[in-house]
Symmetry: C2
Subunit: 404 residues, 2 copies
């Protein structure tokens, strides 16, 4: 069994770097874009298509897979990769973001309402349904973990750091994430600090739980998640605290604006241990890849390329275009004439426009294929430019033509 | 430019035969199953997937493509095959079935309400909107053609045999169909006879219109459509009348029960010219392929394999199974362990079941891939059995295991 490790192939100017993440299911050359397979499928693409466009790693979601089909079933299938027919490396997001985004607007005050008798034990539902209903929330946090109702059927569940790690061990991805509290950007500083401290405590517990279970299966890499909202000093504190713990890598999380986060990345990454890989959670449109890599990010995931594709918005070297725009109905040229993907080499904008207007499934398939290829290959091109000492030039050239 | 022609490779016992249809876009070995690409796409599959599973010919629909994106746009794209990125042969259904099925329940009496001043000229809307609305119909037939409202936007249109052929010339499929009146099975004999006579007159006009336009482009094969409802003597009359006209092949139409039609096929096919190919319109599940081939059918099309797939119903050598059934949730075996398709060699029933329950697009993609492979390869296997003088044995063996 191969162990998780990371090696830097080339340190570029500033924080930009090219590397290789070694995992039990193969190597990931970085920088890399990670297509999102929330429910063990990248929407609209087969694993064969994903391999064909050069994707190397997929990220699935522990929260969604925990609810259905369940970690035991996936463990029985041989892990999430085997379950979904994907032979390469996988990641699982810890589910923190999903749990908290379902309780959107939940916050400091609400957590105080947690019943006194709440038990932190895993699997024990301590959720106060009446309380939750009266506040219209789906999740309530306490220092031990979070209680939440399923978005699917309203059933009651509880995640703790230990439970999240146990679930992620059963899912068996190559890279897993510590359970964190992902805060809303609107919350005040005091709460961001409180949530960050909790995230650090949960990170430590995730690490302990992970080490206790390691002998059970293949070595999975565990990433800690840096939080701290939009406050640079909190982010730096988070990077210092987690950076001192022996994680295999780091995720940088937070459900707030791209603009806020990008500005903070460099500050965080100069603190995080240089020899560990860094993943930017949930952000990864073309312009973000350049900003992120320049600030020291190695891997990215983002649902926008696939979601945009289903809505008719496709990436080109000149920016995004929407195929439902009437001007494309008689345009017999490809989406991006320089793009070698299956969609661009075989179909015209007129045909894709017809498919989108007709709400045909093939629209989403061909659009998603192109957008995913675009991001995956852009990350590869960025990697090559770092290897060639041309990252700055490549970035300037790309961003000059690309209208975000 | 290659011309349309048909050759019989092997005459089996009775009416069963193996042949080759030669078209401008390549050869079609028969018997063959024709996947349905109504709006210039087989729902959920790329042309690459279709070629990969051995599909040789696709059937698109003149009615739908006339409404959107329109025959002029498709002509500009180089024909429907080029438009949709399909390099092999194509067929276009004339749209008769769609026009009439939209006026479902329309009938003899309604046609008498057609205004006296109705003009048969192409493109002139002579539709009596008030009359149609008062009867809740979308289509009204007269001896010259049919006036109908679009199912999509309620706009008024008129099809005549000449107009249908003109549209199908622009769409540019290798095999096109005469414009016919497709009757409801519930209508009485007198009306079936009247509609059949009209279909014969329209067949003749389609043939004249086709010949006048032939020099314009590649030689397309024109099929006449045998009608006559569930009445064997009318069907025989239709086969005699149309068989005497110089069509390149024949379609056998009618929107009534499979059982009725299958019983009539043999009677029709002993009359139709032996040297012309015969297409069974809209019927083609596994058991139908055997019954149809035994009765002299060469090609089939049917929406059920693709529609079933999107609803979770997949074909196996033992019959149909529905993956939403709870018993498949933990079944880690493939849909059909003998099937070499991409779906069966890479994914378990448990995974497909998860995809269907989660309403993921990949469910429809993998299901459609399997079902289409199943029908396409079954037709190929039937062909091989005819070549090997083993058709009867192959059929008996298959039907013994297959529960329809």
């Amino acid at each position: 069994m191969r162990h998780f490790s990371f090696s830097i192939a080339k340190q570029g100017k500033g924080l930009a770097r090219a590397g290789v993440i070694h995992t039990p299911h193969g190597d990931i050359e970085t920088p890399a874009f990670t297509p999102v397979a929330t429910k063990a499928t990248v929407k609209a693409l087969t694993p064969e298509m994903l391999a064909g466009i050069g994707a190397r790693v997929l990220i699935t979601n522990a929260y969604h897979l925990y609810l259905s089909p369940g970690p035991d079933l996936i463990e029985e299938a041989g892990g999430v990769g085997a379950f979904m027919g994907w032979k390469g490396p996988t990641m699982t997001d810890s589910g923190g973001f999903q749990v908290f985004s379902l309780g959107e607007g939940f916050g400091k005050k609400l957590s105080k309402f947690m019943p006194e008798q709440a038990s932190p034990e895993e699997g024990v539902a301590v959720f106060d349904e009446e309380l939750a209903t009266s506040h219209g929330k789906l999740a309530i946090v306490d220092d031990e973990g979070v209680s939440f109702t399923s978005h699917a059927d309203g059933s009651l569940h509880r995640f703790t750091p230990e439970r999240s790690i146990e679930i992620q061990h059963k899912l068996g991805a190559d890279i897993i994430f510590a359970f964190d509290e992902c805060t809303a950007p609107t919350l005040e500083r005091d709460y961001q600090k409180e949530a960050m401290d909790r995230t650090h405590a949960w990170g430590k517990r995730s690490l302990v739980a992970h080490r206790q279970n390691l002998e059970k299966g293949p070595e999975q890499g565990l990433y800690g998640i840096v939080q701290g909202g939009r406050y640079a000093d909190l982010r730096e504190e988070s990077a210092r605290t987690l950076g001192a713990m022996d994680f295999d890598g780091y995720g940088i999380g937070g459900s707030f604006s791209k603009h806020d986060l990008i500005g903070i990345l460099e500050k965080v990454n100069v603190i995080l241990p240089e020899e560990k890989p860094r993943h930017l959670l949930g952000i990864g449109e073309p312009e973000d890849l350049f900003l992120g890599v320049a600030a020291g990010i190695d891997t990215f995931d983002c649902v926008l390329p696939t979601r945009n594709a289903r809505n008719g918005t496709l990436y080109t070297k000149r920016g995004k275009i929407n195929l439902e725009n009437a001007k494309y109905a008689r345009d017999f040229t490809p989406v991006d004439s320089e793009c070698p993907c299956y969609t661009c080499t075989n179909f015209s904008k007129a045909y894709l426009s017809h498919l989108y207007r007709s709400k045909e499934m093939l629209a989403g398939i061909l659009g998603t294929l192109h957008n995913t290829y675009f991001l995956v290959s852009l990350a590869k091109d960025i990697r090559q430019s770092i290897m060639d000492d041309q990252f700055g030039q490549f970035r300037d050239e790309f961003l000059k033509n690309y209208k975000a």
